[in-house]
Symmetry: C2
Subunit: 351 residues, 2 copies
């Protein structure tokens, strides 16, 4: 688990493409000088070579793997799977399968990334479909939320899988030995949630998992800082995440208005910007939270936001480096096995 | 539609109870001197009389309707319906049924308020269950979001009812002739949402409603200001609303940290607080957005947040006064009839 990681990159993905990738590696080298890595850049050499010449420090740790094709941001996943063989995304994932790289990072088409990853890497035994995780800021750190969009409707067993994977992921990312896991629900008296979350709750409680499961939580708990892993279906998770992003943007706009509303306010903002405002900006910069992980695959796949610039891409790279050096794949495996065996016993007892 | 409204109040509801109610009327008198009203305060005279003596302006427009019982905040709705007859909540709703009041306002138990309102006021023809609306802030005004928690799982027809009711409600609250209505969904390529939202989308498009329906929207559109009415099921809506509340609180905390992090920052905050910061505080004060409406009933029922203080309760009162003077109940009726007739034709054509 020590030494130099190799990260495979779909260098043509995202709205900005190769430039964000090369600049992103540059930022990562500065931000995490201790996380040593080599990078395999899959994409068009004619694009990539001139960029590397501009960034010699990046060139020193990078190797171009030329391919002339890439998956477009709007391609349908089913189509991408059939036609993407040999594209930058396909080849980048293939390097994880072959063992040449420990993780793959892409800012490309999410649906295609999921579909191609499933075909090449395959799912872990006992996992139905990948879940996408997001790191959600709190006053003191981050909450891991999953699924944020991969699975529109989920059964109870899938939610349990998410809990298991999210716990191991939080441990790997944030070094927390015993993360608190909660199941997202509504809290009204009459309405204790739908059948699926109630069933998932009882499955987790009865599976004797090595998990600090604290039961149902509500939407306002996500960013409060007292929960570490939030489990929900991809429809709800995606909408909650985007609603929160919209709210953060709204409030940031209110603050900006307040700081530019008068000469006096501008003077105040000038004083603030000497220090505190910069820190505020950093804490609210979504680029620092960039990087979702496709959990449940037999390999580490990190999705960077399609609109990421170099700084954002660097965050996704940082995540891939962290996960490459952790044993979270094994931790997921252990708890999935435990759940599968508890589940089988349960089924046998009933039959 | 002119003259003086009569508002019926469950004066024992909420965590603070009668004090928030009496102070709330006081704030409402000052905030909206042109919205003339009388108030029927249902509750314990021994509690209410001394409070009115402290607030003569409130006493002048209020009448106590004594009852010794009230519904607790933790009672189960089904139980409340059986046992709540004669309680402050029951009697307050009854005054709308009898025509004595044009609206009822309560900070009490939401589930009980829904259940008792259904029993006393009954549902509008063509509406399955009440939906709860929330007014969500945007840079330029408010988006109406429904359902935010009354209906955990919704069929497509229910979502169409929400669209119809939300549109009329937005018109009544914000005087907008042609609000833009969107259906909340996820936007990933592969995942165009679940069957229910797709069916609701096609029902609305085919029903020939008098509605500015703009189709699917995503979570970040809610607070962006380009949509006026957001339609979703109560599970997703409740979680999105609370996730957004949590995020607003988080960001407010970051701003507070920034403004108190150093002497210089405190000086800056001092300058700001002379004007701009106060406005910022007001824009982010959830008390100014307090008041959800239980839509779909044959009567106006406004739910005030359980933790409301006087200022918060005043906002819920302001909403009840606005709705009392509008024709939104009729507007809902008209579009429901149109939808029912389109739906019938559709069913006949298929059979």
């Amino acid at each position: 688990m020590t030494g130099i990681s190799t990260i495979s990159i779909d260098a043509m993905g995202g709205d900005i493409g190769p430039q964000a990738v090369v600049e992103g590696i540059g930022y990562a080298l500065k931000r995490w000088p201790d996380r040593k890595a080599n990078y395999l850049l899959h994409g068009d050499e004619a694009h990539l070579q001139p960029l590397l010449e501009l960034h010699p420090a990046v060139a020193a740790v990078s190797e171009i793997r030329h391919t002339p094709t890439s998956v477009t941001m709007t391609a349908k996943p089913s189509e991408a799977v059939r036609r993407a063989r040999g594209s930058s995304m396909w080849n980048a994932i293939q390097c994880v399968k072959s063992g040449e790289a420990s993780a793959i990072v892409s800012s490309g088409n999410t649906g295609a990334l999921m579909a191609i990853s499933k075909v090449i890497l395959r799912m872990k035994k006992g996992v139905h479909r990948p879940a996408i995780s997001a790191n959600w800021p709190t006053p003191t750190g981050h909450t891991v939320v999953l699924d944020v969009g991969a699975n529109i409707s989920c059964g109870a067993t899938q939610l349990v899988e998410f809990a298991i994977m999210g716990e191991a992921y939080h441990q790997a990312c944030f070094g927390d030995g015993d993360p608190k896991v909660g199941l997202l629900n509504v809290g009204q008296e009459e309405l204790k949630g739908n059948d699926t979350v109630r069933e998932a709750d009882s499955l987790i409680r009865n599976a004797n998992l090595d998990m600090n499961y604290i039961g149902f939580i509500e939407g306002n708990d996500i960013s409060a800082g007292h929960i570490d892993v939030v489990v929900t279906d991809g429809f709800t998770g995606n909408i909650a995440l985007k609603a929160a992003e919209g709210t953060a943007k709204l409030v940031a706009g209110f603050v900006r208005d307040a700081l530019t509303s008068s000469l006096l306010a501008k003077l105040a903002a000038g004083l603030l910007s000497l220090g505190a405002l910069d820190r505020l900006r950093r804490r609210m910069d979504p680029r620092h939270m960039n990087g979702g992980v496709l959990l449940g695959l037999k390999g580490i796949v990190v999705k960077s936001h399609g609109g990421s610039d170099g700084e954002g891409f660097a965050s996704a790279l940082g995540l891939s480096l962290l996960l490459s050096k952790s044993n979270f794949m094994q931790a997921i495996r252990n708890n999935l096995d435990k759940f599968a065996s508890a589940h089988d016993q349960d089924n046998n007892a009933q039959s």
